[in-house]
Symmetry: C2
Amino acid sequence: MQDRAQVRIKARINKREAVLRTAAQVFNEKGYLASTLDEVAERLNVTKPTLYYYVKNKEEILFECVRIGLTMLQEAIHDVGVSGGSAADKLTAAMRKYTEIVTMDFGMCVIRVGEDPLPAESQQKLRRIKAAIDLEFRELIAQGIAEGSVKPCDPKIAAFTIAGAISWVARWYQPNGDLSVDTIADQCIHFLSTGLYQPVTP
Amino acid sequence: MQDRAQVRIKARINKREAVLRTAAQVFNEKGYLASTLDEVAERLNVTKPTLYYYVKNKEEILFECVRIGLTMLQEAIHDVGVSGGSAADKLTAAMRKYTEIVTMDFGMCVIRVGEDPLPAESQQKLRRIKAAIDLEFRELIAQGIAEGSVKPCDPKIAAFTIAGAISWVARWYQPNGDLSVDTIADQCIHFLSTGLYQPVTP
């Protein structure tokens, strides 16, 4: 049986995460500048002072939203990296995971808002996670070139091209629109894997 | 011979454009929130009151920077659309122009800052230009499918995938870095045209 202190701590963590998630949703819909903590409190049906029991201020909320989103991306690409299979299988799995995460609240916040509104020190912390994710992508691409599944290319440019195409999904995806995340992921990955043009037959 | 009034008007337009361009550079380097008109004035070696002779405020400057960048993209894709050649030729030319523009001051500002910090009405005006650009891209892709050069796909998803991959260049391109805009454009276009993976030979 859990003791009462543990139950309270767990409840606090869950409530904090609800505050952050709701804030991410507001940021994603309205942009960071136009978002207010009043609106976050209203959507959660709590008073604004209650919010401050879980979070310090708007800046801390954004930092946490972006940090959680980036950590989800990092864990996903790390898990893919240590899973079995060819580099091509891993790359395809990483592209799918990446698409799924950037269409979720925290992942979307990484792309739609990002670290730009934060102070320099916070920006640096978040950019270090970004750099680590980018490195994992480049390594997978380099492995793919070595195994012969990926065309010879500059892994840096290829990694940025993939990241850009998929990150953009966070900007145009509409949660209640016609296209499901699965359909978008299938078509994006197919496009990035095989290209726009029909192969020219000699 | 131009009369004096004309000369004065022309000089004013040039100076205003210098103010906007310098502001775009500051926004692109530091982010919109961290940028000040003091810094813009300093870089131009003028006083802050002088700036206000050419522009109303920071918001108007951002609106104009994004509007100019979007108009450059719109004109480029329009010019490509009315030029001769196959849809594939036009698409490739459009991707190159797009890459070039998003690595220039105003084009970069469209991607690095964008319309999010602006009031709703300004955002709507700018988003209308974005929607028009997107439509031209989709039409070129649909023409490419019809002529047989582009693989069957959803033109909406394909247009967003291309726009995302190329727009991302504005985020990671370093004007004084190792990679020239030409090299980046060549490799990005090659990647998007032919895909990441080696074709599987049956």
